[in-house]
Amino acid sequence: MASILVIEDVPPVLLSLRIILTGGGHTVACATDGLMGLRLLTESAFDLVISDIWMPGLSGIDVIGRGRAQSPRTRFLAITGGNPNSGVTPGVANVEKFGAHAVLLKPFEKHELLKIVAALLAEAAAAAAPAAEAPACG
């Protein structure tokens, strides 16, 4: 099973994500702000990072940018409830990916979350495959 880091400033959201992902059989680490998230990412390897975008302190965009630079094999999923300052509705047509591999708009449903997590982990596995398989064959 995969190891996933969730970075989210709203505790109930963080908790609900942890419950669902743990229920999906994953190992979940939690961070309540961007800096903490990046620190965890330095300390251990994650297959997937799920990060909120609009957070106090370091924004999700910065977290994803720096995180991807320091951990290129890790997949990044941005989750957002919309920009609190612009009133621009996130919609299918005008989604920015915030530098992430994928985006989910809050509130998303459980099956949507599990589907996209599975897809990103499959990508991560495919990207890591040559390195992982080499010792097995030898």
Binding site: P12, S16, I19, G81, P84, G87, T89, P107, F108
Partner: protein, 546 residues
Amino acid sequence: MTQPAAIPDNERERIARLRMLDILDSDPEVMFDSLTRLAAEIFEVPIALVTFVDTRRQWFKSNIGLPGVTETPRDVAFCSHAILEPGVMEVQDARLDARFSANPLVTGDPGIRFYAGAPIILSDSSRLGTFCVIDKIPKKLSSAQRMILAELANAVSHAIETREATANTQAARQQLENELAATARRSHLLRATIDSCPIAVTIADITKPGATVLYVNPMYTTLTGYDADEVVGHDCHYLADNIVGAETAAMLRQKIGSGEQAEVEIFKHRKDGSAFLSRLILAPILGDDGGVVACIGLQSDITLEAQRRDATGQQREKMAALGRAMGGIAHEINNMLQPVSLLVQDTIDNDRMSAEGIKHMGIVLDCTRNARNIIGDILAFSRPACRSGEFHEAAHILEEILPLAIQGLAKGITVSLRIGCPTGLVEISRTKFSQILVNLVSNAVSAMDGVGALTIQLDEDVLPSLTMPRKAARLRITDTGCGMDATTQDRAFEPFFTTKGIGQGTGLGLPLVYTLVQELGGIIALESVPGDGTTVTILIPIAKES
């Protein structure tokens, strides 16, 4: 024998000069006829002629004694010979002259025996024809008579040149008169145009210290209340410091002085003291030397336009502020809905509920989805304007979307669609058009409470504008519902204002339509009579012809 005369060396120039006189085949003229009549008397001959030798004929400008004859062929003409002679050519008896003895004019009618002709030589030496006298009996001229004949030819050539000069003068005068008439007509038209112009026009001589007013059109009087004679000859107001302010006046003078056009909006007072906002455009008139000599002022009253503009601006600002506020609200609510959605679903999935509990949780999940959709709607109308790049024939998109908008309509409501003449292409996305139509139809239907007539009408119209009116598609949605009173109409575009019951509408339908129409560069208007129904009219500019 008949010997045709030789062709003169300068024949081409000679013929060209002759044609230039515009005399061939012209009517008889007294000055020539009196000379030939005089010659017939002096020389005591029956025939006296003024002839011109043309390419193939000799033509008689004046003719005494050969009634009905206007010309003879050149190859039998005595004059063809005479124009080659330095002076008077005299044939005393044609029957004895080898050149003419067999000439049909000698052997037959008119039976010429005597011929004397003096060449008509113009001042540029071209020999065009002769002055000649002819008799049917042989004759001999005295030297005095020869001199007189030469003088008569001389007189004719003077007459021809005088005649030509007069004709030229007349032609020139005629041309001048035509030009003057055309100029007068043009300036009359121009004046009529300026007089009927719906813009107040002033012309001021800015070479004078106070910029003396030279002219004002009738609209100026209508706009300001001042008659032309109260203004013309006086200093020009709009360049005066005490009227427009020293700074504006200096700016206007500087711009005009350097030959540029200037535009300002200034408050002005009419003769009766009432104020209006004037849009003043000043355009310099340049003199021949390139310097500015005068200045045209074009003024229009934009008080109402400015009020509308301000109102629109305020409405737009209000919308933008609300949009920003809603962004924050949406962010918070979306976050709060997130655990509800995830945890309820997870609880159901993990079989931690009784059957009834699962049913209840299903309701909670439905509510969560609805809440998410409402937030989406709330934000939709504060979306920043962006061009869709989608072009649709107004009638086509209306026919396409209308079925979606009226699906599930109560049986008691009849729908009629009327499409007038083709309107052209509007730039609008399918989504936005649906949002507009669905909201307007939904409002109309709610107003009718299950019974009534819904009419949707599309026609061509013009989007009013002072500067650039544009063709527009006009969509009218009329219902026979309860209508709106004045207070409701005033608040109809206000976000969250709703007349529907709690839970039946967000109060965002019309504000959303308003915002979308604004983004498209269109306008929206409501007409409503309580108890009779409401008509919503929107004008969307035509982007291209279809």
